[in-house]
């Protein structure tokens, strides 16, 4: 098995996606924890908290998806 460009690209795609989900995973976990605590403290703001939570979720998810795009580029274009 020669370590050529194709192999390196496949390896890079795997490593990229692997590392990319660490940050957003921690971020979304913290976000959900704080949202849960806020709703538990004061249940009448659960609507507003839900809105902010979903916005934060989408923004944190986007970072993992940037790495997904890079992985797709690595796999299918070389």
């Amino acid at each position: 098995m020669a370590f050529d460009a194709q192999t390196a690209a496949n390896l890079g795609a795997g490593i990229a996606m692997g590392f990319a989900t660490i940050g957003p995973g921690v971020g979304i976990g913290l976000l959900t924890g704080h949202a849960c605590e806020a709703v538990a403290r004061q249940p009448e703001v659960s609507g507003d908290v839900r809105t902010v939570f979903i916005i934060g979720l989408a923004l944190a998810e986007a970072l993992a998806l940037y790495a997904f795009v890079i992985a797709i580029i690595l796999l299918f274009v070389v």
Partner: protein, 263 residues
Amino acid sequence: MLAEESGGKILEALHELNVQTIVSIPKVGPFDFSITNAVIYMWVAAAIVFLFFFIVARRLRKEPDGLQIVAEILLNFATGHLTGQIGEKGKKYYYLILTLFTYILTMNLIGLIPKPAVLKPYTPTANINVTFGMALVIFLFTQFQGFSRHGVFGYLRSFCTPKGVPKALGAPLNIIFFPVHVMGEFFKPLSLSVRLFANTLAGHLIILVMLGLLLQYANFVILPTAVFVVIMLAFEIFVAFIQAYIFSLLSVVYIESAIYAGH
């Protein structure tokens, strides 16, 4: 080797995500105007949005019935929640944001309807060109609003250090503030488009790969795979709504930051 043998059905299932040219129009310079299935489904989504609001507006009733309730929910959402962030000056952007939200939502949901052999719905938003086109429109619109409200020099001044910083300290800091702000402005449409594109594409990819797996190894893995596919489909519907909302919300935030530049 194992991947090549076992990947056949999976790769076949992924063909659905390809852009297929239906009517080929020769290229005019660098622009290729052929009618692909992405174009067809963008037209279908636009027709659905237009017909929905047109029909509801034709038959307005005092006591809202089914369609009118949905239209009223959308209108209240766009006026209050989305465009309401800008405040008073936001009234004139209400149509753009409402159309943007409904259009992106329709395009996302079109790709999720079941696919009989004749009609193969293709999600236009799973194509970076479509999402980048929309993000480019929002970017140009935002910059145009900024320049037309504050003038060229005034808008560029809002990229520099904020007011209230003493001049001796503030003027050299421009070297850092101005390029970072300009880069941020250019990064906004890129992140907007990639977020929408990658979310839709990732959802479809997971579903299609799992279905390909199910077809390839037609043994005991069928049941758990099918359950997983149904769960992912439900999650995809949720993601369709969320991503349409996030795109419109961030467009509103960018327009707001261009209108109130520097204040």
